[in-house]
């Protein structure tokens, strides 16, 4: 099943029928509630009613959790169908706003005590028009986020990165505008339960919350020069620390993928599609071996272009 983000822009993908799913599917409702509750736990809000911004509020599921916790919230979303469903709730303490987060957040400076976002910000990484540059949108989003948060506020943004590189891109953008923080990965060894939370703060000394089920934390660098870390995690919990920029390769402890799994990822399959490429030749040789045929061993010459034509 392809990701929603590669299917259509969010204002079209989240049409009426999709919006209804969020309203009626008990599984979806339960998942969204769980994620929101976890995000609120990580926010660590004081024990009084606060002003919260819910970015990509969708059908208002997360808003309900905020309301039940006694907070006033403003939710913004780009899809009018989703907002219509959210409006049906007639929330006592929440209001809705039709806006595109990639254009910046239309609020006064230093307004919010906390920010949550559930499964939304990865949409910024996909451009749906020739003039929509993901990096620009990410930058606009994070700069405006920086502005509208109060100085003691935090942001917890749960998102679904398509690749580790995308997660790094998002986190780096956040750090570049001045935030401290990092990405917390809950249940990193389960493909279904795995959740990424980008936790942001203004405090230099901020430590991101501990991930669930012995999960490690991925931390990302702030500003200046990137230093290479062999693997992510343990070294710097809570500070933005360099991660894999140079090699373009992000390793997550305990998730070393074997040859077969790597080939079956999207980029792996793309390489396989090119007939007679090195990857294709290796794949074919492996296939033949599986069928029990006699196949020469692989070497550095496997699949290489020959110097002279046969």
């Amino acid at each position: 099943m392809s990701r929603p983000e590669t299917t259509a822009p969010p204002e079209l993908f989240y049409n009426e029928s999709e919006a209804r799913k969020y309203d009626s599917s008990s599984r979806m409702i339960k998942i969204q509630e769980e994620i929101t509750t976890r995000a609120m736990e990580m926010l660590g809000l004081p024990n009084r009613p606060c002003y919260i911004l819910d970015i990509g509020c969708g059908s208002g599921l997360s808003g309900q959790v905020l309301e039940e916790a006694g907070h006033y919230w403003v939710g913004c979303d780009i899809s009018s169908s989703m907002l219509s469903v959210a409006a049906e709730q007639d929330s006592d303490t929440g209001d809705l706003c039709h806006a595109d987060m990639g254009q910046g957040l239309p609020f006064r400076p230093a307004t919010f005590d906390g920010i949550v976002s559930i499964s939304a910000i990865q949409w910024l990484c996909y451009s749906n028009a020739a003039d929509q540059d993901p990096k620009l949108r990410l930058n606009r989003f994070f700069s405006s986020l920086y502005t509208v948060m109060k100085r003691d506020a935090k942001a917890v943004l749960q998102f679904y990165p398509e690749t580790p590189e995308q997660a790094v891109l998002i986190a780096q953008c956040a750090s570049r505008v001045g935030f401290s923080g990092g990405i917390v990965v809950d249940y990193p060894n389960s493909s279904k339960a795995k959740k990424h939370y980008l936790c942001l703060s203004f405090e230099r000394s901020y430590h991101v919350p501990r991930a669930l089920t012995g999960a490690e934390t991925m931390s990302v660098a702030s500003g200046g020069a990137m230093s290479m870390a062999g693997s992510a995690a343990a070294s710097a919990v809570g500070t933005f620390d360099a991660l894999a920029a140079a090699s373009g390769n992000v390793s997550v402890l305990g998730r070393e993928r074997d040859e077969k799994t790597r080939r079956m990822t999207k980029n792996g399959r793309k390489a396989l599609r090119k007939k007679h490429s090195v990857e294709w030749v290796r794949h074919k040789k492996e296939q033949m071996r599986g069928r029990g045929k006699a196949v020469k061993n692989d070497s550095k010459y496997t699949g290489r272009k020959r110097p002279t034509p046969f």
């Binding site: 009084r48 913004c76 303490t93 706003c97 806006a99 239309p106 609020f107 006064r108 405006s144």
Partner: protein, 125 residues
């Protein structure tokens, strides 16, 4: 859209400074009053955060709370009556249909079914 939300909204067209684009003028076509439970803690928190200037502008546009026109800011020790009235204007008055107008650029943002549309055109970003 409650007035408490209107108090937070500003026009974020490119090129405006942080003080500009606020407060948005309200041209209301449909205003509703929907009762909401009084929450003293929430209200106290709001008073610290809100812009009195923004609130006055909204009340003037809607033509309500004339008696507050002369007040310079939130009272130091608000009376219970004041808090009740504040709760009413902030949380119970809903602008359902209308337009929000940026005081700096004149750009209008429509409000439909209580939801303001703050989407910008590509050349405004």
């Amino acid at each position: 859209m409650r007035l408490v939300t209107h108090n937070l909204l500003r026009c974020n067209i490119r090129g405006l400074t942080e003080e500009q684009g606020y407060p948005l003028r309200i041209q209301a076509d449909k205003v509703e009053t929907i009762p909401a439970p009084f929450n003293g803690d929430l209200l106290q928190g709001m008073v610290r955060k809100m812009s009195w200037q923004g609130l006055q502008s909204a009340l003037r546009d809607l033509g309500v709370m004339e008696e507050w026109r002369a007040m310079e800011g939130f009272p130091e020790t608000p009376s219970d009556e004041f808090l009740q009235q504040l709760h009413h204007v902030l949380f119970e008055v809903h602008v359902q249909d209308g337009t929000l107008v940026c005081p700096t650029t004149g750009r209008s943002f429509p409000v439909k079914d209580g939801i303001p549309n703050m989407l910008l055109h590509e050349d405004e970003v």
